[in-house]
Amino acid sequence: MTHIGFFFRLFGWFILRPMGSAKGRTLTVLLGVALGAAVFTSVRLAVHASLEAFHRNMDAVVGRAEQTVLVPGGRVPESLVARLLSHRQVKAASPISTTYVRVAGSDTEPFLLLGFDPLLDRPLRHWRTTDAETPVSAWLDLIRHPGTFIAGSLLAERNGWKTGETTTLLHAGEPMTFRMVGVMAGGGLSAAEGGMVALCDIATFQEFTGWRGAVDRIDLILAPGETAAAVQALKKDLPKEVQIRPASRTRESGRMMIRAYQLNLSILSFASLFVGTFLVYSLVALNAASRRKETAILRSLGASPRMVFALFLVEGTALGLMGWLLAIPVSGLLLPFLLEGVSETVSTLFVRVSVPGFSLSAWEVLLSFTVTVAVAGAAAVQPSAEAMKVPPREVLAVIGRRGVPDRQTKRLTLAGLLMIAGVWPLARLPGPTGLALPGYAATMLLFIGFAMISPAVLRRLGRSVSIPLRRLAGTPAYLAGRYVKDSGTRTAVSVGALITAVALFVSLVIMIHSFRETVKLWVEQTVSGDLFVASRLAEVNDFRDPMTRDQIALLHSLSDEAEIVASRRFSLLYDGRVPYTLQAMAMDPFLRHGDFVWMRGDARASRPALVQGRGVVISEVFANRTGLSVGDRFRQPLQGTAVKLPVLGIIRDYRTQGGVVFFAFSALQAQLGDVRWTGARLYLRDSSGWTAAELRNALLERGGGSMDMVLGKDLRGEILRIFDETFAVTTVLLFIALAVAALGIATTLTILVLERYRELNTLYAVGGSSLQLRTMILWEALLIVSVGEAAGLVCGFLLSHILIFVINRQSFGWTFLYRVDWSALALSVPLVIAVALAAALPAFRAVFRQPPAAMLRER
């Protein structure tokens, strides 16, 4: 006990007091760590909020359902409900249908209407109304009265609805008057869609949507017993087209996707923290170096090497701890921004989530605390170990700085080169689906490898440039070169921070640009068309509502003006596990106006087969997720029949909900008979002389108001807008990492100045002017920054390959055409150098913080 007490007293005397007297430096480091920790924490919390919202939603929607009965690409006949309920393997069965609907005459977002049987659903899902006095009446009203619903609290609040009031809802453009008979209280189903949900009786739902005779799915609780056997037995008794799946399947795939995204962002945000820890390293290293004398005294007075090690290690840890505390208010500022950005991205990329707010997760807080403190502590290990080696006899010796021996640099360089060499093989290791773990490990290895070779690069640079520099820029530049050559690992640390930040910057600039260019190409070719039409809310409702015959006839009436490419979409699971969209499209007109962006397969040779429905093209994502390749056979049960066609090619596609498979509309027709469209795209004929907007207006005038219509130009713009929004969060993280790196350079340079005050003052004493000294510092900064920037560029290009061809593939299943945005990079180089040099300003100011005369007084 007393031992520990003594340790902390010593820590206070020896570490905290000097820290307090160097407030500016300590605060800078703390700010850097705090920024890193805040980014890490708030990103984690923001994704956690989305994940939690998703879970709440899924828990509410899935309830206690164990298995789900559905028909891929179709609906389940309602007669199966009674059949299932009479089955001895079934304990409970509840039919569910859902659709997104809109409030008539209102701009509010669509909300989920869930049609169910309140009686049959009782064992599965929990919910209650706020009206506690007659708790039974609300759900009974649902059954008793047509056109009644119970609203989620948020939905009722947003629309200002009161129990008993009526409102008109629109489904696929068709209105129906509803009466609200209650508002859900908290818990259970009320959490679905963050409260933007309404419940109605299945009868009302069918009368509203017109989907009579069938339901979306039937959720089951099985009788006690072995699940697999029960499912087998049930399958035998059900029609062929009906499938049974674990109810948690949707939850699992959604969860996996958000988790992957969380990991991706975590690692990106960890980069900020990582860069921040360079600061901890520099500060602890400086303190250890500048307190060498004190350390020697401590040792001579009987402190053990372990105690010295512990003192400096605890200093690093304390910096982490204080940085983390400081991160709390910073996170408070960042979080609202990230919360919105992240939930939008998750909704755009993966699954619809509605995040009402965030809740503090003890686990996330603990994680961020542990990671920050541990990483800061780890950063202090090496300087602490150095300090531990200070021999007690040094208390009697003259202080002399030692350069880093060549041998050590060589070993470092060798290790660094080996690491860089290991990057590509590591990146190519197989990892878990959706988690780019090998990719991220490779990235880490790349950063560390580059940081390790930076002393050698500096040495080489210093050696080769100092002589020319003397000729070109005089003695200060020469001295700077000589210093950089021998500055060893200490400079390498800040160079490492800079390399990391620059590499992140460069690689993300390249990746985002490549991504955007590829998406643009895809949008222009594959999302071609002048006008897109679909039934109302078709997109959010997974294109399950075919267009009406009237709507189709209306489109045909304009066929003189525009060529119509009909399409039918199905949201399916391939092999019961890979979610994707199967899209049948009139291939001939489509390929005349647009094209796929082919990756593999012979586009020209495959065309006839594609047009005639003798094959499919599959997206890269779908190919990666399923392992299907050109020449393999694609098989999908569909409404009682099956699509079995060879894969003709792999194409690029960047729609967000997984993969996509295209085949000819005629093939679908041959398979299913009369097929209704879920949407169509229209290409204006050259002869028409109309604009797309005129075409839309013509449709509107003729009663096309019941369809969703969007101009191709607008749709393509919207896709790119969403794309840009998605990367807004990434860009912010990027700039924060750069800012932290700039802080790192500021600290390192200041430290380099402070710890050389004796040398600088000697230079002054032997005739150096303060201008010469500052010039020298500037040259040092310039050299260090140049090395950082140059190595960062190289590292960044390597990293961009990993990002595009490894991490994106591992995380999302897609890659892009490699495109470098040279102009943005060219602009960024001077920008980064300017930022880094600005970071040298505090160092200039520090040059004469110790008066030259002090040198003579120090004995």
Binding site: E78, R122, I202, A203, F205, Q206, R212
Partner: protein
């Protein structure tokens, strides 16, 4: 018991459908205000215009080895909207209906003292539940549970994870209409009545399973069928209902309506059915029921009477009624959420100088909570 049953439904209605229209009044439903003029097989079927209706079977059976079981299977029908008050859209969904069905089933394994129970609920649509009358055959069903009546034969089927029963019941006596040709008055005021008949003695044969395997059983059963529109009279908290088949060939139905002070309401009554099927009405003044024991449910905490002395001076009858096993408490969280005791009983006593024995079923309601408690 049909009365009890009737009341049972009424209180279940009270619980499940407390919302139902004004507290009193038929509001468009078919009412019961005179003799019911039963005609069979028609009246075995449903009376959809009335608010509530139930088909109720109980029985005591044993295997060849003498292993004894009690069983009950009850189907309830309730109408949630009065005829004429409905406002269906032009093209109603197949799910659109005003009829809701509930069913409770239980098997009392008297040897091992296990009480197995299950419940079902569904609307009367899309093949989930309903009552069909077809060429003289009546089928009451809810999922895979059913009661089929054809002539004197009643075929019962019900099963759950823990038990199943499959029995053929054959009437040993003709149908007995309670009250005035089935017009069974339930309280003061017009329309506070039900149409109520029973088959008090049926021979039961079939199979019962309590642990997987079905075993053949034989014994006696009881059937009630009752329909009504009016709710229970205010102030009543529950009832004790008895159906007893005696060794002298006679059967007895008695119910005691209780108020909050455990007093007996004057509408309490009963019916004695002689060996040849002749019925004699018993008014509340004709019998006296004394509780001799009690049992507290560990599950619900409710304290039930668990032994009775029944005196019927006009029949010179003195009976001691004891539960065949203590715990036959029904818990129905998924349907009515009402807790009651419904169980097999054994009877000993005398008629005049002759010692008689018997078996029966007793229903005790309102002990766990007043029966108008919301579900």
């Amino acid at each position: 018991m049909s009365l009890c049953r009737a009341l049972g439904i009424a209180w279940m209605g009270a619980a499940l459908f407390a919302f139902i229209s004004p507290a009193f009044g038929s509001g468009g439903y078919a009412t019961v205000d005179g003799p019911c003029h039963f005609s069979f097989p028609r009246d075995h079927g449903a009376h959809f215009g009335h608010r509530t209706e139930w088909w109720y079977y109980t029985g005591n059976v044993r295997t060849e080895q003498g292993r004894r079981y009690g069983f009950q299977l009850t189907f309830f029908r309730t109408r949630i909207l009065a005829p004429g008050a409905e406002d269906p859209p032009p093209e109603p969904s197949a799910w659109r209906t005003s009829q809701i069905y509930l069913a409770h089933a239980a098997v009392s394994d008297l040897e091992e003292e296990r009480h197995l129970q299950a419940e079902r609920i569904a609307r009367g649509a899309v093949g989930l539940a309903g009552v069909q009358t077809d060429d003289g055959r009546v089928r009451v069903m809810l999922n895979d549970w059913s009661a089929r009546i054809e002539g004197d034969t009643h075929r019962l089927k019900a099963s759950d994870a823990a038990f199943s029963l499959d029995l053929v019941l054959t009437a040993q006596k003709p149908v007995v209409a309670h009250g005035d040709q089935g017009y069974s008055v339930k309280g003061a005021g017009p329309g506070r009545a039900s149409c109520y008949y029973s088959v008090t003695r049926l021979a039961a044969a079939g199979r019962i399973g309590t642990s997987g395997a079905l075993v053949p059983v034989n014994g006696t059963a009881w059937m009630d069928h009752e329909y009504s529109t009016s709710p229970l009279e205010p102030g009543l908290t529950g009832w004790d209902w008895f159906s007893i088949q005696l060794s002298d060939g006679s059967d007895l139905m008695l119910y005691r309506l209780r108020d909050a002070q455990n007093g007996t309401h004057s509408a309490s009554s009963g019916t004695w059915v002689g060996p040849q099927g002749t019925a004699r009405h018993l008014g509340s003044e004709d019998f006296r029921i004394t509780e001799t024991d009690s049992w507290t449910s560990p599950a619900s905490g409710a304290a039930y009477p668990a032994g009775w002395n029944i005196q019927i001076p006009s029949l010179e009858m003195s009976l001691t009624v004891s539960p065949a096993m203590a715990d036959q408490e029904m818990k129905t969280p998924e349907t009515t959420n009402v807790v009651y005791w419904e169980g097999s009983v054994v009877v000993e006593g005398s008629r005049g100088d002759v010692r008689i024995r018997g078996v029966g079923y007793t229903e005790l309601t309102g002990y766990a909570a007043p029966f108008d408690a919301p579900m």
